[in-house]
């Protein structure tokens, strides 16, 4: 699984950080998403998929297997 984030779209809702803190963080100065791990391990795939599905700005992209 490959993860991408779109900083311009991000609205700082923080759902991704609450659901998958191993993969996502937010910049302290403005709350915009920071991608910590663009190729997370299989144990995190379910959480990453959930984070992408509930992102209110549709700012998380997923590609590849898993």
């Amino acid at each position: 699984m490959k993860v991408t984030v779109d900083e311009a779209r991000c609205c700082g809702a923080g759902q991704c950080v609450l659901i998958a803190p191993e993969v996502f963080d937010q910049r302290e100065e403005d709350g915009v998403v920071v991608l910590l791990d663009p190729e997370p391990g299989a144990d995190l795939h379910a959480a990453v998929r959930e984070a992408a599905a509930v992102c209110p700005a549709a700012a998380i992209g997923l590609s590849g297997q898993g």
């Binding site: 779209r9 609205c11 700082g12 950080v17 302290e28 403005d30 709350g31 509930v54 209110p56 700005a57």
Partner: protein, 403 residues
């Protein structure tokens, strides 16, 4: 007569405190773009399907400029939070809005909210202790739901929680679309503006470690910050938004979970479901209030219907959240539902700024209640719970509980 042959009055009246009006399903199925009459008598267009509501909320052509001359007035007196000119002081869209959002958004990150969690838990436990000491039955709305979010947002803004009765009144005049006359609303807003101007001036003179002090410290618009009036309106907006919304949701969430006590039992057995249970409560909130109004800056097609420029659209997120085409077994409360991309906080660039705060508060309340009062139950039959009328954000008058 069916819903597509008449003009519905909006908000649609509902007899039940926790169940949706039957019209929602009918509208989603047969009339997804419906003509409605608002309390003011003005007409608007109501959207109830998930895909339509989600698309419209994220489309910048559906603006929040509800003070346009041909926009529908929501309340009979033309006042209320959505038609307020105050709403125009913070930029509605584009880079200006994003700039504002990011200046303020740093205060609402998931990490900041996690850091606030221990303090929130302490407040919630103290409020539960007080309720228990007074003895059953308690009112979960007055004893816990209202005070907790108020203490938290007052602390973030650096305003004294002792003034909370005044905030509650000012907030109510802005959010209640039917209870107050124009003169009363105007007077309350003027008092609120005076109060917050004074507060911003005091923070400028003696900064604290709070959101408003830090917004001031960034500097004015020339320094990449906000003007004084923008800071004041931001403070007012956050105080109102951080107040009634979560406060009401706490009472509604606990009521939903206790209405069928097997839900409560399941959470006692599996406390790890608290996070998804909170999301499911938000999704199933049948008493969410008015929904979000939008004003069309140009002609747009929605679900095959052309909406002319100047149309006022009402997005019913609560109806959309029960759309069977978006959620399997949409009418059922599934405490482990995942993913749960409900629209309770809106969608897109304007989705709720304080959603991480609201989520954290709801999770903390639920955790504390499950731990401290596992025997909690409603002290009245669910049919006796009553809605607060006229609020932009729906709530229950009281949530009587025993333990």
């Amino acid at each position: 007569m069916t819903v597509n042959e008449q003009i519905l009055d909006y908000p649609i009246p509902s007899d039940s405190a926790l169940e949706p009006p039957p019209e929602w399903a009918e509208l989603r199925g047969a009339c997804p773009v419906a003509s409605v009459r608002l309390p003011s008598g003005d007409r608007a267009t109501l959207l109830t399907r998930y895909a339509d509501v989600k698309q419209v909320l994220a489309d910048p052509r559906f603006t929040r400029l509800l003070n346009a001359p041909d926009a529908a007035r929501l309340s009979a007196e033309g006042g209320g939070v959505f038609n307020s000119e105050m709403a125009q002081i913070v930029p509605d869209g584009g880079e200006g809005h994003q700039h504002w959002r990011r200046l303020v958004g740093r205060w609402f990150t998931a990490k900041r909210m996690s850091a606030l969690r221990p303090a929130m838990t302490e407040i919630a436990e103290r409020l539960v202790d007080d309720m228990v000491e007074r003895g059953a039955p308690g009112d979960l709305r007055a004893d816990l739901g209202f005070p907790l979010p108020v203490y938290v947002i007052c602390d973030m803004l650096g305003v004294p929680a002792a003034d909370r009765d005044r905030f509650a009144y000012w907030s109510d005049t802005l959010l209640n679309l039917t209870r107050y006359g124009k003169a009363e609303t105007d007077a309350a807003q003027a008092e609120f503006v005076d109060y917050m101007s004074g507060h911003v001036a005091a923070k400028r003179a003696a900064p604290g470690e709070d959101l408003l002090s830090e917004l001031i410290a960034v500097g004015g618009p020339e320094g990449g910050g906000l003007s004084d009036v923008q800071i004041m309106v931001t403070g007012m907006g956050l105080l109102v938004a951080g107040h009634e919304t979560t406060a009401n949701m706490i009472g509604k969430m606990v009521s939903m979970l206790l209405a069928d006590r097997s839900r409560w039992e399941r959470l006692l057995a599996e406390p790890s479901l608290v996070r998804t249970a909170v999301e499911e409560s938000l999704r199933l909130d049948a008493n969410a209030g008015f929904g979000l109004p939008r004003y069309l800056s140009e002609e747009i097609e929605v679900s095959g219907t052309v909406l002319p420029r100047g149309t006022t659209v009402i997005c019913s997120m609560a109806a959309a959240n029960r759309d069977e085409s978006a959620f399997a077994a949409a009418a059922e409360m599934d405490l482990g539902r995942s993913p749960n991309p409900h629209l309770a906080f809106g969608s897109g660039a304007h989705s709720c700024l304080g959603q991480a705060l609201a989520r954290t508060e709801l999770q903390v309340v639920l955790e504390v209640l499950l731990r401290r009062l596992p025997s909690l139950e409603l002290a009245v039959p669910v049919e006796e719970l009553e809605r607060v009328e006229g609020l932009a954000v729906g709530g229950l008058r009281a949530v009587p509980v025993r333990w």
